[in-house]
C-alpha cells in the first residue's frame, strides 16, 4: 500500500534556517494531494524529503509501512517530475523513459520497450520516441517527463511545479490531462505548486503551507469556504478575499458590526465570536462574489466609489474604495499574514458585477456606488491571531439552506 505519513517532519537547513516545522499529514492511498504555498513556504522541501533528495532533520516519513528516512531515492519506489523536466539531454525520448526501468528492474529489453511504448501512447508522444529533448517543445518535454515517471509504475508520484514553465493555455490543458491520468492510474500523488488555481482544480485535498508551517488541510471546497485563518483566506481564491475592518457592537438591541462594513448579526453569532476572541475590532472577510453592487442607496448599504473595472468576459471585476476605510495593516498584529496578494499598502477591494451593470463607469472614476454584503458568507477573523472565529457557522447556514431546499422539493 502506498499511504504516505508525515510524522512531525522537521527540516532545518545549514545556518539554522527552519524550512519545515513539525509537519503532520497523512495521505491516503491513491489520493491526489497538493502542497501549496508561496515561495519559501517549505512545500518543495517536503516533496524532496519524500523523494529522498533532502535529509530529514527530525520526524519520520512513511511510505506504505516503511519508514523511508534512511532509504536512498532508488529504494523508495517513487517517481518524480521536475519543474525543469530534467530530461537527459544526450538520450532520446525512448532512452529517457527507459532509463529508470533499466536501473531499477530486471526487465528484458523487449519488456522495457513495450512498457515505454504503452506509456508513450498514454501521453500521446509515440511519434517522439527517437527525438532528443532539445528538439521538443515545452509541452512535449513536459509529457516526456511525465511519461518517464508513469512508465515505472511507482507507488508514489511526486510533482514539483511541473506546469510552471508552460504558457497559460497549455498549462490549463496539461492540468486536466494530469488529472485524467491520475484518475486512471490511481497512484498516490503529491503535487507541489505555488498556483492556488492549480491546487483548487486538481486536488482531492490541498495542504496550505506558509513559513514551513501547515496552515490548513482540506478539500478544495473546504479550504475555499472555511479558511481557518487570514492567510488561507487570502491565498486561496482569485481574486482574493476582501478584508474589512469592523467593530463588534453589542450595546444595541441586536449585535452588529460597525466600521468599514455595517451589518447586523444574530445574537448567537455574536456569542460564538465573543467566546473565541476578546478583540474589539475584527477583520471581516468577504469574497468578491458575495458583495452586491447597487447604483442607488438601498437599506443597509455601504457607500463606496468605483476605482477601476476589469472586464473578464462572463463577469467584470470592480475595484472600489471605501469612503473612510480603515487600513487592515493598522489593525492586524505583525505576525498575522494577510496573504501574498498584499503587495501595496493600500487595500484593494473587489467585487464581481455583471458586465455593463454600472453604466458609464468604464470611463468615469469615482462614481458613487452602494454595496450590500452576503453575511452568510462572511468570515470573521481575529486581528491578533488571524484565526477565523466564526468558522463553521457558514457551513451550518449552507446545510440549513440545503435541507430547506430539499424539503421544498
Amino acid at each position: 500500500m502506498s499511504r504516505i505519513l508525515f510524522d512531525s517532519v522537521t527540516k532545518v537547513y545549514e545556518g539554522d534556517i527552519l524550512a519545515v516545522d513539525e509537519f503532520d499529514l497523512e495521505i491516503e492511498d491513491g489520493e491526489f494531494l497538493t502542497l501549496v504555498g508561496p515561495s519559501g513556504s517549505g512545500k518543495s522541501t517536503l516533496l524532496r524529503m519524500v523523494a529522498g533528495l533532502e535529509e530529514i532533520t527530525d520526524g519520520e516519513i512513511h511510505i506504505g509501512d516503511t519508514v523511508v528516512n534512511r532509504l536512498p531515492p532508488r529504494n523508495r519506489d517513487i517517481a518524480m517530475v521536475f519543474q525543469n523536466y530534467a530530461l537527459y539531454p544526450h538520450l532520446n525520448v525512448l532512452e529517457n523513459m527507459a532509463f529508470g526501468l533499466k536501473r531499477s528492474t530486471n526487465l528484458s529489453a523487449e519488456e522495457i520497450n513495450a512498457r515505454v511504448e504503452e506509456a508513450a501512447e498514454l501521453m500521446g508522444i509515440e511519434e517522439l520516441l527517437d527525438q532528443k529533448p532539445k528538439h521538443l517543445s515545452g509541452g512535449q518535454r513536459q509529457r516526456v517527463a511525465t511519461g518517464r515517471a508513469i512508465v515505472r509504475n511507482p507507488a508514489v508520484f511526486l510533482f514539483d511545479e511541473p506546469l510552471s514553465n508552460l504558457d497559460a493555455k497549455l498549462r490549463k490543458h496539461m492540468r486536466t490531462e494530469l488529472q485524467r491520468l491520475q484518475q486512471e492510474l490511481v497512484t498516490t500523488t503529491i503535487y507541489v505548486t505555488h498556483d492556488q488555481e492549480e491546487a483548487m482544480t486538481m486536488s482531492d485535498r490541498i495542504a496550505i503551507l506558509n513559513h514551513g508551517e501547515l496552515q490548513q488541510v482540506g478539500s478544495p471546497r473546504e479550504v475555499y469556504n472555511q479558511p481557518e485563518n487570514t492567510f488561507v483566506a487570502q491565498f486561496i481564491g482569485s481574486p482574493s478575499m476582501n478584508m474589512f475592518v469592523s467593530e463588534l457592537d453589542r450595546t444595541g438591541e441586536r449585535p452588529r458590526f460597525r466600521g468599514d462594513v455595517d451589518v447586523e448579526i444574530s445574537e448567537r453569532e455574536a456569542e460564538t465570536i465573543a467566546a473565541r476572541s476578546d478583540a474589539d475590532q475584527f477583520l471581516l472577510g468577504i469574497r468578491p462574489e458575495h458583495i452586491e453592487v447597487h447604483e442607488t442607496a438601498v437599506e443597509g448599504s455601504v457607500p463606496a466609489t468605483v476605482d477601476i473595472i476589469e472586464p473578464l468576459g462572463s463577469n467584470d471585476l470592480l475595484y472600489f474604495d471605501l469612503e473612510d476605510g480603515t487600513g487592515v495593516d493598522d489593525v492586524v498584529a505583525d505576525h498575522v499574514e494577510i496573504g501574498e496578494d498584499e503587495q501595496s499598502d493600500e487595500e484593494e477591494y473587489k467585487a464581481f458585477i455583471l458586465p455593463g451593470s454600472i453604466p458609464n463607469s468604464y470611463e468615469r472614476n469615482d462614481e458613487r456606488i452602494y454595496l450590500t454584503f452576503d453575511t452568510d458568507h462572511m468570515h470573521v477573523f481575529d486581528p491578533e491571531t488571524g484565526e477565523n472565529v466564526n468558522k463553521g457557522r457558514m457551513a451550518t447556514a449552507d446545510a440549513q439552506a440545503e435541507s430547506a431546499a430539499e424539503a421544498s422539493d
Binding site: A51, G52, R74, A79, M80, F82, N84, A86, Y88, L158
Partner: protein, 309 residues
C-alpha cells in the same frame, strides 16, 4: 550595398561577390592587414622556406644543392627515424591519456563539497603555472640517482637502492612523461571541473530517483556531459604534446641513445648538431603533415561537439 559600384575597372562583378568589394569589406581587410603581414612574416614565410629547404642539400657557405625527394627517401630509410616516430606517438598518446585520467579524477574530487576546497583547487592548479624549463630542472633533481627525492623515498621505504630514472633506456621516456603529466594535468582538471559545474543538478536528482547509484550517475550523467569538452581538449593537448620540446631536450636530450627521443628534439639535433638542414626540414615537413591531420580532425570534432549544437 545597393549604392556601391557593381563594376571594378570596367569588369562587372557578379552580385554574390559584390560584398567583397564593398566599403565595409575593404575597411575590414585594411584593419586586418598589419597582423596578416606580421603573421605572414613570422609564420608563413618560414614554413614555406622550410618546405623548400626539404628539397635541397644544405650547403652552408656554399650554394644549396637541389636534391628532389632524396631527403625524404633518406628520412624514411633511417632506422632512428622510426624509433623516434614510435617514441613520439607513445609519448603523446600515453601522457595525454594519463593527464586526462588524472585531471578527471581530481575534477570529480574537487566537484564535491569539502572544507578547504578552494585551497586544494589552487594548489592543484599550481603546476600549470610553472614554466617548462623550471619543471625540467626541478624534476631532473627529483630524478637524480644520488640526491633525488624519488630514490631517497625508495631507500627509506626499502625498495632497494633506487632507479636511474633518466639514465636508463627503459625508464627515460617514462620519467620525462611523469614530469610532463604533472605539469599539464591541471589543464584537464580545470576544464572538466568547469564542465561539471555546468551540469544541471536536477539531472542527478532525476537519475537518483530513477534508480541510479553513484557509478550510474557518473557514467550516465557526468561522462556524457564531459564528452564534448573532453574530445576537444584531448585532441588539443595531443597536438601540443606532439610539438613539445623543452622537457625532453633539457632532461634527457633524447637519451640514453635515442630511447627518449621525440620528433621536435630529433629535428633540432639533425639541423643544429649534424648540420643536416635539408634532412631536418624533410622531417619537419613529415611532422607538419601529421599535425595538419590532427588539426583537421580537431576542427571537425570541435564543430561537431561544440560548435554545431
Amino acid at each position: 550595398m545597393s549604392n556601391t559600384t557593381s563594376t571594378l575597372g570596367g569588369i562587372t562583378i557578379p552580385e554574390e561577390y559584390q560584398y567583397w568589394f564593398s566599403k565595409e569589406s575593404l575597411w575590414g581587410w585594411l584593419f586586418l592587414l598589419p597582423s596578416l603581414a606580421a603573421l605572414g612574416l613570422i609564420s608563413v614565410v618560414p614554413i614555406l622556406r622550410g618546405i623548400a629547404l626539404s628539397f635541397y642539400e644544405y650547403g652552408g657557405l656554399r650554394e644549396d644543392v637541389f636534391v628532389g625527394l632524396e631527403n625524404y627517401v633518406e628520412v624514411f630509410g633511417l632506422p632512428d627515424f622510426w624509433v623516434v616516430m614510435k617514441n613520439t606517438f607513445v609519448w603523446s598518446f600515453a601522457s595525454v591519456v594519463l593527464m586526462a585520467a588524472i585531471g578527471l579524477g581530481f575534477a570529480v574530487l574537487l566537484n564535491r563539497e569539502f572544507k578547504g576546497r578552494s585551497v586544494a583547487t589552487t594548489l592543484l592548479l599550481l603546476p600549470w603555472t610553472i614554466p617548462f624549463i623550471a619543471v625540467a630542472l626541478n624534476w631532473t633533481l627529483l630524478f637524480n640517482y644520488e640526491l633525488g627525492m624519488f630514490n631517497g623515498l625508495m631507500k627509506v621505504l626499502g625498495f632497494g637502492e633506487g632507479i636511474p630514472w633518466l639514465g636508463r633506456s627503459r625508464y627515460a621516456l617514462f620519467s620525462v612523461m611523469l614530469a610532463y603529466v604533472w605539469r599539464n594535468f591541471p589543464f584537464f582538471m580545470i576544464t572538466f571541473l568547469a564542465a561539471m559545474k555546468g551540469i544541471p543538478q536536477d539531472l542527478y536528482e532525476a537519475a537518483r530517483v530513477d534508480g541510479s547509484n553513484r557509478l550510474d550517475l557518473f557514467r550516465h550523467i557526468t561522462l556524457p556531459f564531459l564528452q564534448p569538452i573532453g574530445v576537444v581538449t584531448t585532441l588539443l593537448m595531443s597536438l601540443w604534446t606532439l610539438n613539445h620540446f623543452t622537457l625532453v631536450f633539457v632532461m634527457t636530450d633524447g637519451g640514453p641513445g635515442n630511447s627518449s627521443m621525440v620528433l621536435p628534439v630529433y629535428i633540432y639535433r639533425q639541423a643544429f648538431m649534424h648540420n643536416n638542414f635539408g634532412l631536418a626540414a624533410a622531417i619537419a615537413v613529415v611532422m607538419l603533415v601529421i599535425m595538419l591531420g590532427y588539426g583537421m580532425v580537431y576542427l571537425r570534432l570541435y564543430q561537431e561537439e561544440v560548435g554545431g549544437k
